[in-house]
Symmetry: C2
Subunit: 189 residues, 2 copies
Amino acid sequence: MADDLDWERLDSRYADDLILFRSRFDRLRHPGSGEVFERLVLESVDWVNCVAVTEDGRLVMVRQFRFGIAASTLETPGGMVDPGEDHAAAVQRELREETGFGGGTWSYLGAVEPNPAFHDHLCHHWLAEGVRPLGEPRPGRGERIEVVSMTAAEVVRSARDGEIRHALALSALSRVLDLWGTRNAEVAD
Amino acid sequence: MADDLDWERLDSRYADDLILFRSRFDRLRHPGSGEVFERLVLESVDWVNCVAVTEDGRLVMVRQFRFGIAASTLETPGGMVDPGEDHAAAVQRELREETGFGGGTWSYLGAVEPNPAFHDHLCHHWLAEGVRPLGEPRPGRGERIEVVSMTAAEVVRSARDGEIRHALALSALSRVLDLWGTRNAEVAD
């Protein structure tokens, strides 16, 4: 069945540079009707974030102003992979820059497609256990970040209260913490 | 502390129409240094998706070609809210159009910010229990969708295998199913 879902790409054109993205318009042929449609792709590098846990079991979180919603958010540390950089290196660099924390044992939690309808990038999630302060944070000139130390219970409460609403932060956290008290029993198998 | 994180917006300009988004560039003043930076905001309507469960406990899922990653994905039903439409109405309309299913009892699972760094929209998650086929699917001319009926265990397996990687589909599913076998015990409180 999967072949029958695939659209044929006829051509692509690039439009404005969008700082974070290169915008591309593809023309594609519908696999059923043959009709041609124009569709947007926002090309970018991959993103990374991490659930960073200190030696005494506290989570290292960050608050920062987010331009899309014009408000500050509570999130997991993370950011964009530099061109040519490995995502494992990127996430350790971002944690160090944003919070001053590092070290510990790192495990890969997997990747998600933030929105495959128009984004081509992945967000890679990592768990860092036993991190410790290595020095002062080193945010970029264009960043302003507050470091927040929280218990696991406080993080779960912040998710349930709606204080943490960043889908990619919740995605990383959901692989380590039972955020929602899920109700498997209600869905028969 | 939150006030200290807020950036002052100096002005905004709109750029290309991006089919799904209106692209806006804001100039903002850093709350610490006073330096001015230009930042991208992609304005759009909100999105919706749902965990749709039939009367016999199966999940109604969809496969479709996604232009951002140029591959087909396995997802929860959903889409964009029409201008002026309520998200509760939008999600029921999208389920009906994409799958032909409807009816049942609907509960709101909450909203997430898909990426507040540059998106201004929310994605609203719904649970629909006891849905049933009401007729044929009615996809739009620019859509091609396969309806897939799965058990909860198959959905969990597809998440763990990486077949479901759409962050917003996983976000909705994670509020109903224990997708990851979370390890709360490893994070001391």
